[in-house]
């Protein structure tokens, strides 16, 4: 891990009218670090993720991102064009439902190749080879390259979505309940795959989950949210093995140990 944070989050709050989405969240994220945001449905974790990924504008607060050149930029001061460029090159976003993050009516190869083409790659053969390599990395048979994701199982679709996001070697990936829609055996395989890719590529990841097992397997550090606020944060092992807040203790004790 580098000595300078990739992301500085300061005082991010989002209100829907008088209702709180998330309130006064601050933290730093280092390159290569995996941060899990956990909490129950309605705790504000998805709102926070969407604010960080600039899919939502927070009501107050500031998020700075260290660009590849090393300079810090305030995400909310960037132009739309700059933000969208960042989103399709340096960032990834893995949706809970793969259909939200894939083009369901174009082939797996084109799904993976789209980002390459969007950043100016114009060699069909190279795009196809890269797409094919990525399918292999996410354990999709290479002869499925011309099939549409409609013909894929839920687990395959999710792996394809991950490949589509990682093909441009992003530095930061947001994941919203990446195993949410999958059955248990498929979940375990996907988590293994993601853990391998994250460590091989040195990705920084912010993953939102209600499933503490996901946090345990993937993350270095975690934040626990309740009622829009971060009530506890720390190293994942510490939080899960020695929770300090009563609410965290309740969460940890109410699930099967992993």
């Amino acid at each position: 891990m580098s000595d300078q944070p990739l992301l500085n989050v300061r005082g991010v709050s989002k209100f829907y009218g008088s209702r709180v989405g998330c309130m006064d969240v601050s933290f730093d994220l280092w390159p290569g670090e995996v941060l899990a945001i956990v909490g129950e449905s309605g705790s504000g974790k998805t709102t926070l993720l969407n604010c960080l990924a600039t899919r939502l504008m927070p009501t107050t607060g500031c998020v700075q991102y260290r660009m590849r050149g090393g300079n810090l930029r305030d995400l909310y001061q960037m132009s739309d064009a700059e933000r969208r460029f960042l989103m399709r090159t340096d960032w990834g976003f893995v949706h809970q439902n793969p259909a939200d993050g894939l083009r369901m009516t174009v082939s797996a190869g084109a799904n993976v190749g789209e980002r390459l083409m969007a950043v100016g790659n114009r060699h069909y053969g190279n795009i196809r080879t890269t797409a094919s390599d990525w399918l292999e990395r996410v354990e999709i048979a290479q002869d499925r390259i011309d099939d549409q994701p409609r013909a894929f199982s839920g687990g395959m679709r999710q792996r394809l979505q991950i490949a589509r996001n990682l093909v441009t070697s992003p530095r930061l990936v947001f994941m919203d309940e990446p195993t949410g829609g999958l059955d248990v055996s498929v979940q375990a395989r996907l988590l293994d795959l993601v853990r391998g890719l994250v460590s091989d590529l040195g990705l920084a990841v912010i993953v939102v989950t209600h499933d503490l097992a996901v946090a345990r397997l993937l993350s270095h550090r975690m934040m626990v949210m309740k009622g829009g606020k971060v009530i506890e944060q720390g190293l994942t092992d510490r939080v899960l093995d020695d929770p300090r807040e009563p609410y965290t203790q309740l969460l940890v004790s109410s699930i099967l140990q992993v």
Binding site: S18, R19, V20, G42, T105, G227, G228
Partner: protein, 364 residues
């Protein structure tokens, strides 16, 4: 004043008398004759015949006159009459290859056997109001044709020669063509019934749907293979005689739309077709129908249903203008009882809303 009174019989009788008066208009002008409507408003008559599914110019003209020129009302009148007619038999399929052609154009070939024949078209007229028509200015006789009776091959046959276009659909040998007006509708429909529904469907609705496919909502890459308008023979097979006898001729408009199809795992790439056929002269309707017909075959070709024009239930359930106008206009019928119940509910909810709330919803 509009009051809910009982015994509205007098009111209705008076209203109908007023309608008759307005229909006749200024008594100093001669009443319009049915023959004049047939001859001079022929395209209105054609539309009424097509969407009423009854080929009778005089009756359609009468309906136009009775409805004061409201064509959907005229269609309604003619359909109501049609319902009462007995069926004597089913004619042989008409053969449009043997049509006596008055107009025939193809957008896919510059020139082709039988030629391009413009016929009586608004195309290439400049839409400038013509002051000559303010008066009964004499009109010259048109140029005639010399080769009018020769059969003219269809463009689909030219493409079929190379196997470039799908063949005519095949129905099982024992298939009896359905009758939409005699049998309940079921989804998914067979293509014969679907085409029937489209043939009597509202011109404006089909036009808008066809247009939407051109603008990307269910694109089909269409080319007008051919439009032909002309007279075709109606023949009835009489079992007692052992041969078909001619009952007469009707004017029809046929459109064969040729569409690109890139092939699938099962089928090699070839052109596919959308088909339109309507009574009388109505190119707009026949073209729209053929666009929508092709769009509705989406699933047949393994394509995705993503647009309204591709959704059979949506299209067929809403294309009938007599049904549509009936249901839309029924909203003006009394709904006092239902509305009273709603009034009561809204009053209760407003009363509750007016009370101050003291609790804030928890964050989600």
């Amino acid at each position: 004043m509009y009051v809910a009174v009982k015994g509205g019989e007098t009111a209705i009788a008076n209203a109908h008398q007023l309608l008759a008066d307005r229909r006749r208009g200024n008594r100093e002008l001669p009443a319009i004759a049915i023959e004049q409507i047939v001859e001079q408003l022929a395209l209105s008559v054609d539309r009424v015949m097509a969407e009423a599914s009854l080929y009778d110019r005089s009756l359609a003209a009468l309906a136009v006159k009775q409805s004061r020129g409201d064509l959907i009302e005229a269609i309604f009148l003619l359909r109501a009459y049609r319902t009462t007619l007995p069926r004597f038999g089913t004619s042989e399929p008409i053969d449009t290859a043997r049509m006596q052609i008055e107009r025939r154009v193809s957008a896919t070939y510059k020139d082709l056997p039988g030629g391009q024949l413009l016929g009586p078209t608004f195309d290439y007229t400049h839409r400038l109001l013509d002051p000559d028509l303010l008066h009964d200015t004499p009109v010259e006789a048109p140029a005639g044709r010399t080769d009018a009776d020769e059969p003219v091959m269809r463009v689909s046959e030219i493409l079929a020669g190379e196997g470039l276009i799908e063949a005519d659909g095949e129905l099982p040998a024992d298939h009896v063509a359905g009758d939409l007006t005699r049998e309940p509708m079921e989804f998914p429909m067979t293509r014969d019934l679907r085409l029937q529904a489209l043939a009597r469907g509202d011109e404006g609705f089909l036009l808008a749907l066809g247009y939407s496919t051109q603008r990307g909502y269910g694109r089909t890459h269409p080319f007008v293979g051919e439009i032909r308008i002309g007279l075709v023979d109606i023949e009835l097979d009489v079992p007692e005689l052992g041969f078909a006898v001619s009952l007469g001729e009707i004017l029809v408009t046929e459109c064969q739309m040729v569409n690109q199809f890139k092939g699938s795992a099962k089928a090699s790439p070839q052109f596919t077709r959308g088909y339109g056929l309507v009574f009388g002269q109505s190119e707009r309707k026949a073209m729209s129908m053929s666009l929508v017909d092709r769009a509705l075959r989406t699933q047949e070709f393994g394509e995705d249903v993503v647009a309204p024009a591709q959704d059979e239930e949506f299209v067929i359930s809403h294309c009938d203008n007599v049904q549509a106008t009936g249901f839309v206009e029924h909203l003006k019928l009394p709904h006092y009882v239902d509305f009273q119940a709603e009034l009561d509910l809204v009053r209760r909810m407003r009363a509750k809303h007016a009370q101050p709330h003291d609790h804030q919803e928890a964050a989600e």
